[in-house]
Amino acid sequence: MGQANNKGYLEQTETIKTMIQTCIQCGTCTASCPNIEFMDITPRHMWRLLLMDHVDALFLSKSFIMCSSCYYCTLRCPRGLELTNAMSLLKQTASKLKLKQFQRSSLFYKAFLDSVKKHGRVKEIEFMTHFFISMKNPMIPFGFAPLGLKLMLKGKVRPEFPSGGSGKLTALFKKVAELEE
């Protein structure tokens, strides 16, 4: 994959590996996962790949991006491992590496956070517009149109053009980026 040479990638996966070091491969996480039928490899298998340093196979799979943060695996893990947080760290790594299978989720979250950075609070229509533009696929907005329209008719969201905002949280975002470098 070539991406395994990326320094950040290895550092990140080392951190996650430490988090799951005492995994006993019991499979409770797999049995507890509500999204299992949409995963190509099971959570238990993912942790095994990570412990054996087969990170390429791990990032070729789209299993971790299916995690909906229900925290059942974390709750039930007999070793007390923070597996949902480990999933989040895998998502962060995939996002930083701009992995293709994570692109849709990653752009969605980026558009969301850009809106938060500018306004302090989420402006739903603005962030969805940014998301649609960044996806560069003219068909995607149509999947959301019926719900968007319903919400607009209820006055729950207002049509808005993307704006500059006040830069409300720009300083915080900048400092976080600095510290995480």
């Binding site: 509500p34 299916m66 229900c70 059942y72 956070l113 739903e124 300083a171 915080l172």
Partner: protein, 288 residues
Amino acid sequence: MKYLYYPGCSLEGTSLEYDISTKILLEAVDVQLEEIEDWTCCGATAAESQSHLLSYVLPARNLALAEKMNSERQILVPCSACYLNLKKVEEVIKKDKDLLGKINAVLAEEDLVLKGDVIVKHLLDVLSNDVDIEKIKEISQNKMSGLVIAPYYGCQCLRPFTVFDDPEDPHSMDELIRATGAQPFEWDMGAQCCGASNTSTKPEAGMALVGRILKSAKGADAILTVCPMCQMNLESSQKKISHKEGIDLEIPVLFLPQFLGLAMGKTQNDVRLDLNLSDTGKLIKARV
């Protein structure tokens, strides 16, 4: 009784009725709220998938603002995702002083300091443990008797922090439902996942989870939720999923305080039932 109030972004937009009905219900049971001044987004699930530190800094900013207000020491949060994010900071900084240092290094940009002396509470925790349930009983006069109501808790008010209910088999809503004269619907889906943001980013997977919940709710007169994300997911695609599954899965879905408000004599307009996406007509015809 008084709490600081963190509504969160959804309650200003897509879940406006949750904000309005929460306020009207709490007023009726003598709970006062003081909104945290200048609050901002908690980061939702977006921050944790992009940056570890940011996912702590965004909620921490709000806790620091709450501490600065020098008022109440408890923050009431109706949205489960916001609740978890704020709670996560409250819990983690008790142990991880290194992270607290980093958070404060960032918050210094806005001259804010986080000490860690406020407690974050979910609306359901307050309703089931702090509020006098006799008051709800007294005012509602069994108005909802004959109805069978399915309590849906979702994930993030129950897990990973097990604060006020059983994270596998929650029942904190049962007594509140009984207080209105209605009966809680017996089911195993109350603590199952609604798909969260997968309904937007991976619709096929998200809708499968919603479908499972709606199918299990067959036989109930309505579903109650305590989270904007759960509410949106359970309400917004009922027609589509019914069509796909070939059975009628349409059911009224209300926020818990909307239902309790109605039981206590508030009008449909008071609790803004017009804003719900599911068809609440059947429930209303029966009872209000």
